[in-house]
């Protein structure tokens, strides 16, 4: 017997009841906001901008509605519902944002929710109020009967109307037992409605995750690029001048010491040569981290400079109307740099060719030679490093190098439209 009344002492029952009761005021609020926004916005459409702005803001309010409802469902219904909306943070400008907002199915489902929230709210509020009222009124009917008889508030006689009062009590008990289950049922309906119309489906969740990953990936690529530039500057503008001044002072010392102890002169000369060597090595190191000419003048100049340094004759053709994004540009540079290094070291080629062009939002980099072939993408090798770099930019990387040659290295890097 007590088991039947247990739900009355569970927090869940009362939280859900509260949820059903709040359904009505919130339903009225959401319905009013959305209908008013859409009607006003549509009415102002002849004023173009203002009308669209009102519509846009109304749609944005759906996000607020969704957030409030999801928080309410979490607190009162114990339902953890994921945010269904695509993040807008990284989109620049009005038009791309508008397109993203209007194309987001979650938003339109949110609008539907706002519209159905009112009738549903009326239903759930009425049910909750009616059931609990009947339950409490029925159970307490005998007490009211006695009180009213004694105070003479009515001509009810507890003894004469025993049947009615007992009947009411029994009905009240029955409702007291049944109401929690009715509340559970309607709460489940609410939960389903919020999950269905305001929650993220699997697809949207994945899309959202992908969008987030894209943002964070491109941010980390930019950070890596900026970091390389910073290191290059620090070495160029910090370390190098010091070495140059040291080499210069050694040069002055050598002039001063000329004609004195030849051993001293030789020592100074050696120190100076070492310093000059250090400067040259530092320059090569910096070029390997981030070539300054690439930043200053772009791919054409930087690749020409690479070609000029390559002992194998290289023909360079770069057809670009505008500069690709920095990470793409620098990936293209290092693809060519590594390929030319390999050609010089291993290929026995007589001639190499570098082609860079842009086509359909793809930057295509091709390095070919007439050498003996047999280049392989080995783990940890230079080519596999290039392949990783290209993959991180969502590009494709291919090496065609049959034994006996020739070798062609092809990379395609997406670089916006």
């Amino acid at each position: 017997m007590p088991a039947l009344f247990r739900p009355l002492f569970q927090a869940r029952t009362w939280k859900e009841t509260l949820h059903l009761l709040i359904d009505l005021p919130l339903g009225i609020a959401w319905f009013t906001i959305i209908v008013t926004g859409i009607v006003v916005g549509a009415g102002l459409v002849p004023l173009m901008f203002i009308g669209l702005a009102v519509l846009f803001l109304t749609l944005q309010l759906v996000r607020v509605v969704s957030a409030v409802e999801r928080a309410r469902a979490k607190t009162l219904l114990g339902a953890d519902i994921a945010n269904p909306f695509l993040p807008l943070g990284e989109l620049q400008g009005w038009w791309p944002r508008l397109k993203a907002v209007l194309g987001d199915a979650a938003l339109w489902k949110g609008v539907v929710y706002c519209l159905v929230a009112l009738p549903i709210g009326i239903l759930t509020f009425t049910v909750a109020v009616t059931f609990w009222s009947v339950a409490f009124a029925g159970v307490t009917a005998p007490i009211w009967g006695v009180i009213e008889h004694w105070t003479g508030a009515s001509d009810m006689n507890p003894w004469a109307d025993f049947g009615i009062l007992t009947g009411s009590f029994v009905v009240g008990i029955a409702f007291l037992i049944a109401t929690p289950w009715v509340v559970h049922g309607f709460a489940a309906m609410d939960r389903g409605l919020i999950r269905g119309l305001l929650g993220a489906d699997r697809n949207a969740q994945l899309k959202r995750r992908v969008a987030q990953l894209e943002v964070s990936k491109s941010a980390s690529l930019d950070i890596a690029e900026a970091e390389r530039t910073r290191i290059e500057r620090d070495l160029h503008d910090g370390v190098q001048p010091r070495l140059v001044v040291a080499a210069m002072d050694l040069g002055l010392a050598r002039e001063k010491a000329a004609g004195s102890d030849p051993e001293v002169v030789a020592l100074i000369e050696r120190a100076q040569d070492e310093t000059k060597q250090a400067i040259a090595e530092l320059r090569e190191l910096v070029r390997g981290i981030h070539p300054a000419v690439l930043t200053d003048r772009g791919l054409d100049a930087a690749l020409s400079s690479l070609a000029a340094r390559c002992p194998v004759p290289v023909t360079v053709q770069v057809n670009l109307e505008q500069r690709p994004p920095t990470p793409v540009e620098s990936a293209a540079y290092f693809i060519v740099a590594e390929s030319l290094t390999n050609i010089a070291k291993h290929s026995d080629a007589k001639h190499a060719r570098v082609n860079v062009n842009r086509d359909d939002g793809m930057l295509r980099v091709e390095v070919s030679d007439d050498g003996k072939g047999g280049a392989r993408t080995e783990p940890g090798g230079g080519l596999s490093g290039l392949a990783d770099r290209v993959r991180s930019l969502e590009g494709t990387f291919r090496v065609a190098s049959p034994d006996g040659g020739p070798t062609t290295i092809m990379a395609e890097l997406p670089c916006g439209s």
């Binding site: 500057r233 160029h236 503008d237 190098q240 001048p241 010091r242 070495l243 140059v244 001044v245 080499a247 210069m248 002072d249 050694l250 040069g251 002055l252 050598r254 002039e255 100076q272 310093t275 000059k276 400067i279 040259a280 320059r283 910096v286 070029r287 300054a292 000419v293 930043t295 200053d296 003048r297 100049a301 020409s304 400079s305 070609a307 000029a308 340094r309 390559c310 002992p311 004759p313």
Partner: protein
Amino acid sequence: MRVVIVEDSILLQEGVVRLLAGYGHETVAKLDTAEGVVEAVEKHDPDLVILDVRLPPTFTDEGIQAAIALRAVRPAQPIVILSQYVEERYASELLGGDASGLGYLLKERVADVKEFIDACTRVAQGGTVLDPDVVAQLLARRRKEPLDTLTAREREVLALMAEGNSNVGIARKLVISEGAVEKHISSVFSKLGLSATETEHRRVLAVLQYLRAS
């Protein structure tokens, strides 16, 4: 020689001033940014301007821009560009017009004190001095040009010429006779199609041949 120096590293700026002073050259103005270079040069009318390539605010090629701007106002102003790295692209931009009185050198060349002072003097007198590194890049790149027909020795001679060496200097560096140098040079001139009528200019023209090809 009166010199204006533009170098953002104070350490290096002071070093070069000290170096020049040691050889009796006076530094009349020191700047640490490319801004106001033209004004400073107009004011002091120096025999030579020494310009760093990377200068504030962007630390990219302010020095090259400043040199081009300066030559636009004072076409004959001798300028030596000092750079952390040399790129033939910059050399081409710099020497695209009149190459006389221009130098383009790696910073570390100041370590060879005498040669550096020598290069500065030659530029101040209207000569052209290119860093051996630039010359090497140019030679590597122009294989398919008429320069391709030069022999290895002729190429060496041309490289030394591009660095601003006189015949005597070239002879000493290659350890050959001055007569042999002259023979190589006239062969270079004829292979590059430079007529004998402009003897004075032919050295510069030969060097420019690399640059024009790009």
